[in-house]
Symmetry: C2
Subunit: 202 residues, 2 copies
Amino acid sequence: MTIRFSCLSLLATFAAGVLSPVVLAAPPAAVDTAPTYTVDGRIVPPKNYRQWVFLSSGVDMSYNKKAMASKVPMFDNTFVPRAAYQSFLKTGTWPDKTQIVLEVRGSAHDKSINHRGHFQSGAPMAIEMHVKDSKRFKGGWAFFGVDADTMQPAKQIPTDRACYSCHKAHGAVDTTFVQFYPELLPIARKLDTLSDGYLNDE
Amino acid sequence: MTIRFSCLSLLATFAAGVLSPVVLAAPPAAVDTAPTYTVDGRIVPPKNYRQWVFLSSGVDMSYNKKAMASKVPMFDNTFVPRAAYQSFLKTGTWPDKTQIVLEVRGSAHDKSINHRGHFQSGAPMAIEMHVKDSKRFKGGWAFFGVDADTMQPAKQIPTDRACYSCHKAHGAVDTTFVQFYPELLPIARKLDTLSDGYLNDE
């Protein structure tokens, strides 16, 4: 276990002359929600986060300079609700009640017709959440480690853990690692919402 | 350029005791659409496919046994409209009018606070589409190569290209590479929609 597991580390029309579009028969069911909590303050992991908007993925990332490469590369995938994503596109930052879900997946290599590189394989090995809820959390955001097997409500990670200070010091936008989300980084730059910490790191 | 560029290769609640959920202020705008074409039969690339459902990503994949590893790893990300995804969850296969978008992205390594592995970086380098439109395409599906810079309407890739025969022979479900989509493969197995070609490969 490296720091990547103890912290939400890896937080990635119609043109002229077009015929009338045909809408798919069944409209998609709504899946976006704001965070919900149990009465004792644990967060309820969103069961349908895979239908949220994908921010990006990375492979074998670590913020630890001494970290060794893993034998089997691990991917991370990051997701936010569509409403939060669309808000970021307009404002360059996250609205209150944003939930970011990070999942870690294993990989496979020489399977089926693939002979090079790696693809994601198997069930999630770890899930973490980063949640913005200004009235509830000091500093606006909180981290949660979720059991990927059970998806049961999860306690907040204590605020003295390194994830909080690291995200605050280095997160490109509002304590989140937008520097790793290639669709959003240019928007934050354009709308001038990049943090001083990130600009200093650059 | 390897085969991975000439073919859509990498085609991947409320619990007890919960407080009332709070809905994000602005409901997300609808983004799902069926394929649209110009009057001369080119497909119109969907500008908002990044708000579709993410299927999976891979890194440096190739179906060519002689392919060399690239100096800078390349990621692929695959997306489908939410309605098509939800239909797959229920049926184990794709509804008519499904569009699958594959984008290829470059990567970065030792930037910001990351010291190991790779994260996605920069604009899309290539975009390909795999589209199911039974009345329009012989065999039901067609491939399109889209210019990622201009996102202009794109001509169909001729049906004698290897992508068609390869996907037909090895695609786990309905000529698509569901074997690389870890959330969907178990559903296809459960609903018994895996192709004979895939089962033989296994």
